[in-house]
């Protein structure tokens, strides 16, 4: 089979364990001074790419990519500490964010420049919950796609992917080039060891700006407002099972 040139896009997001707060102007979620991490689904993508290399598949290169504020470089260093060979960072002004379509357009150019033949993305980022970028990239490149992957196997030129669907799993077979998006069951990402974190500091990190790309990434959506979800009214605690049944009847749930 041909050598694998893997591209792994990663996103810096508010840490999954942090409860987001909405700003006073109701225009966005507060991000200043909030703990950020790599999007959990993207950790799975890096891990899978590294495991392909560890399975002795002909992995030529694993390139991590991120479009985001200057601090997104930290996320790329993490990806390199986990095993990516180098990083590409497209700096986006703090406070601005690309939409999935814009990211997909950038990625299309990166794929062409890097001659990537496998892109592994997270199925969704846990901030905007869009679940779009991988599919959009596949559409722009006219490549096959295998989304929500829970198992990936290579056999010669064939890639078999088991994917999570409503009610169970389905298995697809495709050939490279291919887009894969990761589901939580795909693997368990490793922790970067201290020596690997030190080594990652020396790995190449290319810095780019939007001006280096020809893609039109202007936003199509305008945020009108961001608000708190309606709070649920405080409930009651009951003493025993009879109390629970009684209360459920009272609420019309039984």
């Amino acid at each position: 089979m041909s050598g694998l040139r893997i591209l792994v896009p990663v996103k810096r997001v508010i840490d999954y364990a942090v409860k987001p707060r909405i700003n006073r102007a109701n225009t966005a979620v507060e991000t200043a001074g909030v703990k950020h991490s790599m999007n959990p689904f993207d950790e799975l993508s890096i891990e899978e790419a590294v495991r392909l290399r560890e399975r002795k598949l002909p992995v030529e290169e694993i390139v991590a990519f991120s479009a985001g504020p200057p601090k997104a470089q930290d996320i790329l260093r993490t990806a390199m500490a986990m095993g990516a060979d180098r990083g590409i960072h497209v700096t986006i002004e703090e406070g601005k964010e690309l939409e999935p379509l814009g990211v997909a357009k950038l990625l299309k150019q990166v794929v062409q420049e890097e001659k990537s033949n496998l892109v592994i993305l997270g199925k969704q980022s846990i901030d905007d919950d869009a679940n779009q970028t991988g599919q959009m990239l596949a559409g722009l490149l006219n490549w096959p796609q295998a989304t929500q992957a829970s198992k990936v196997t290579f056999e010669g030129d064939d890639v078999t992917v088991m994917r999570e669907v409503d009610g169970g799993v389905e298995t697809l077979k495709a050939k490279l080039p291919l887009i894969i998006t990761t589901d939580l069951r795909l693997n368990e990402p490793r922790y970067a060891s201290l020596p690997n974190i030190m080594k990652a500091k020396k790995k190449p990190l290319a810095k780019k700006t939007l001006a280096d790309f020809e893609a039109d990434v202007s936003p199509r959506l305008k945020t009108l407002k961001v608000t708190e979800p309606p709070p649920r009214k405080g409930g009651v605690k009951v003493e025993d099972v009879d109390g629970m049944i009684g209360k459920l009847k009272e609420l019309g749930a039984l």
């Binding site: 409860k19 987001p20 909405i22 979620v29 379509l101 997909a104 199925k123 969704q124 846990i126 919950d129 869009a130 679940n131 779009q132 970028t133 991988g134 599919q135 959009m136 990239l137 596949a138 559409g139 096959p144 796609q145 295998a146 989304t147 929500q148 999570e164 669907v165 409503d166 009610g167 169970g168 799993v169 298995t171 697809l172 077979k173 495709a174 050939k175 589901d183 939580l184 936003p219 199509r220 959506l221 305008k222 407002k225 961001v226 608000t227 979800p229 649920r232 409930g235 605690k237 009951v238 003493e239 025993d240 099972v241 629970m244 049944i245 209360k247 459920l248 019309g252 749930a253 039984l254």
Partner: protein, 348 residues
């Protein structure tokens, strides 16, 4: 901004030339006249997937005409079935078994061809595994920024969706010429019977599909479908093992006629199948009753169930976050309380 203004002027100009139905939202009169929605319907083995009708309901809230779209073997029969749903004016079907598995590599070109041919301004699908997989590919081909998993329609270009695992509600306005949208099924109930739509055959570009569908393994169950069930019982890490999950949860579900769900912790530990996962990365449910046992209530789990009408929780930790959203909470050992509850519910 300019393109949005240009479009609305164009629409107003064009709308003079078209026959229009009266509308109840006068301020959007100029828009609604030209507005036409394509609602993607799903089928499985020649049967209409009723939950995909949420796309039709969302389409009717936009104000314009709604056309259903269905493809696969036996699509015509499914189209006839869908034609009886109120709110659909027309159903386009494409009869070809190449579309049976809903593979986006050939389904997206099929959909794009029919969207362009019909001049639709809105394309809507359910936020199911099928819709999530297919629609962003379609959106990219149309150069449109999709709006995922909306929970409400404010106007023809303004939509409401949740972000950050349901912890924030975002209202966005789209400037795209064709608005591509997926809808949360629990927010848009399927329409009533009683319609009589026209059924027509659509265009079939017969795009090649480089992906081969090999097999599937679906959890078989006689219980109601998790995403649309009126009642859901859900178990978490507190159940301790698959044996205990299987011993305690199904009888409780049966006593209530409920579907079974699970937290990610329960799925990861192998207590329950992944398809039962409720939460940000699993299914969104909004039943009349969500009864959970041994679930602490992490934000990722709450994302998938906090729109339930009534939430009841059994947990031995009185400080578990689940009690902050539960209407009825019982602090106790689920290994005692769940069997007792099951017996008492059966006796009702």
């Amino acid at each position: 901004m300019f393109s949005a203004a240009r479009q609305s002027v164009l629409r107003q100009a064009q709308s003079q030339l078209r026959f229009s139905r009266p509308t109840v939202i006068p301020q959007y009169l100029a828009f609604t006249r030209l507005l036409s929605t394509l609602a993607l319907l799903e089928q499985r083995e020649g049967k209409l997937n009723v939950s995909s009708l949420a796309a039709v309901t969302a389409g009717t809230r936009l104000g314009g005409s709604v056309t259903g779209f269905i493809a696969g073997s036996g699509a015509k029969a499914v189209a006839n079935e869908a034609a009886t749903i109120q709110g659909i004016e027309k159903v386009i079907y494409v009869e070809n078994d190449a579309y049976d598995k809903g593979l986006p590599e050939n389904f997206a070109p099929l959909l794009v061809e029919n969207i362009k041919k019909g001049g639709f301004t809105h394309v809507i699908a359910g936020n199911s595994a099928f819709g999530k997989n297919l629609l962003p590919r379609v959106a990219a081909m149309l150069d449109s920024q999709q709006i995922s998993d909306i929970i409400s329609v404010e106007s023809e270009d303004t939509f409401v969706r949740t972000i950050y695992a349901g912890n924030a509600i975002l209202t966005v306005q789209s400037s795209d010429a064709v608005k591509v949208i997926t809808v949360r099924g629990t927010a848009f109930p399927a329409g009533e019977q009683g319609g009589s739509a026209e059924v027509v055959e659509g265009a079939d570009p017969k795009a090649e599909c480089p992906t081969e569908w090999i097999s599937e393994d679906l959890a078989k169950s006689d219980r109601p479908d998790l995403a649309t069930a009126g009642r859901v019982v859900s178990g978490g890490r507190g159940l301790k093992s698959k044996e205990e999950f299987d011993r305690l949860m199904p009888p409780l579900a049966d006593a209530l006629g409920a579907a079974i769900g699970a937290s990610r912790a329960a799925v990861d530990s192998g207590f329950a199948d992944n398809s039962l996962q409720v939460g940000q990365t699993g299914k969104n449910v909004a039943p009349q009753l969500y009864l959970c046992a041994g679930i602490s209530g992490a934000i990722q789990h709450l994302a998938g169930m906090k729109d339930s009408k009534v939430i009841a929780a059994i947990n031995k930790d009185p400080d578990a976050p689940i009690f902050q959203v539960a209407d009825v909470g019982l602090v106790g050992d689920l290994f005692d309380k769940v069997p007792e509850l099951t017996e008492k519910l059966k006796a009702l």
